[in-house]
Symmetry: C2
Subunit: 271 residues, 2 copies
């Protein structure tokens, strides 16, 4: 199955800190999910693929059962793998339902049934169901998930890593990342009030390393690494000509503007 | 990823009439699900793969939105496709949870992210996640689902068709089908009290066509065809040396006995 006459879709990644309350277990941010669903519906993108993070659905379990380390043996950890994946499915269902209610033809797809990793890197990614949804005019909605791993049994496949892999495989040019801060800062803005936001970040530029080293990981529970890891994940996609726009998805209007190609406050990552 | 040193697992298909109440919308038969979970746990099969049907979760929506006919265009039908798949995910979650509580290391996998059909026949089936679960000693739990279709947009992939495809691809020898009747009858036992049960059905035997023509479809809402279609679905698997045991899974003990290779009342389908 090929995209055929379809344009590769832009990708929208919605962070776990946006779609959930990270400090409460399995608590979706329904207000944000519903508002973002309306913004997406109003933007009427010709095609779109959405990926969301785990937030308080995936991360607490993944951390408690040490899933990122891989399978260390034992029924308990395997049960934890299942519990994490089931929690992620529930979050995906909530988001898919909200999108449909807003008029976006969202179709959820379980990431761990599509992707298998080897030592955490994507080894195979079955695009056929994704392409099938796009061909029907639907919006596939995937997510960061605990997946089977050829080397270590299982692994965490972050929404960020999945997004860039999908963008590269589909030939997409644009990845919009909705996060809970205004963009990339020279240091963590939640800790340092003097940190400055970077409007444009060139991954081949002189300042790239300096800025990257200044970024501290998110303080919230995040088994997938926060902003620094996010930049590292998209570097390959950006090096190959894609652009990544990081915007604050908790502030109304940003995601809608970005989807319409209008100017939205944030950090543009490019090469 | 290969099965490697693992034996191909036996397959257990649990019918929609077993795991749900077919006459009530989205109503699981929790008592049956919990009892069957204990029977599976007690049987301690070295490996196992479970497939379940849709019952009152999948069929009413699939029928209302005419999914079996494929995509006829329009947002409503696409929304129906999503609604059917989301309902099936919820049923799968309930079953996976019950199995885990009973001590069976069940891992749910979304069928529509694994399989794509062409005019209703399986065109591709991604076994990598399934094998990944089996290698960890887990029990993959798949189900009949509304899937993407290369020709008609989407289609219904029945749990029966999926079971036999998985059994053939994995090289399994045994498929146990848990249904809501005692086995194959010469006519519908729910309608005709004089119908006789067939203890052994040879798909290459002289009486095969006669018995097949006597079977009437299930009266319950079933977009996938009932007992007659079930026999036709397993014919290929049986012709290639597999055996299929059809037992009443609503009667305690049958599935447990079948899993342990003990004699269980039912119909053995073979070549």
């Amino acid at each position: 199955m090929k995209l055929g006459s379809l344009e590769p879709p832009p990708l929208l990644k919605l962070g776990g800190s946006v779609v959930t309350f990270k400090d409460k277990v399995e608590t979706p941010n329904l207000q944000a999910i519903r508002r973002l669903s309306r913004e997406i519906a109003d933007a009427k993108p010709p095609s779109l693929l959405v990926v969301h993070g785990g937030g308080s659905f995936g991360h607490p379990y993944a951390q408690a059962y040490r899933l990122a380390e891989g399978y260390t043996g034992g029924r308990m950890q395997l049960a934890g793998f299942t519990r994490t994946r089931e929690a992620m499915l529930q979050l995906n269902s909530i988001i898919v339902k909200a999108l449909n209610l807003a008029g976006v033809p969202a179709v959820g797809l379980q990431t761990s049934a599509l992707a298998v990793t080897r030592a955490g890197r994507i080894s195979s990614l079955n695009l056929k169901p994704v392409l099938g949804v796009l061909r029907l005019g639907g919006v596939p909605v995937l997510y960061g998930d605990a997946v089977l791993d050829l080397k270590q049994g299982f692994a965490i496949l972050s929404g960020d890593r999945l997004s860039t892999a999908l963008a590269l495989k589909l030939g997409s040019r644009r990845l919009i990342m909705g996060v809970d801060v205004d963009g990339v800062y020279t240091s963590d803005p939640k800790v340092n009030p003097n940190s400055r936001m970077v409007r444009e970040l060139n991954v081949h530029g002189r300042r790239f390393r300096a800025i990257l080293s200044g970024i501290r990981g998110s303080r919230a529970v995040d088994v997938t690494g926060g902003m620094k890891q996010k930049i590292l994940e998209v570097k390959d996609f950006v090096s190959k000509g894609g652009t990544v726009l990081i915007v604050n998805a908790l502030k109304p209007g940003n995601v809608g503007k970005a989807l319409q190609g209008l100017e939205a406050k944030g950090t543009l990552v490019k090469a």
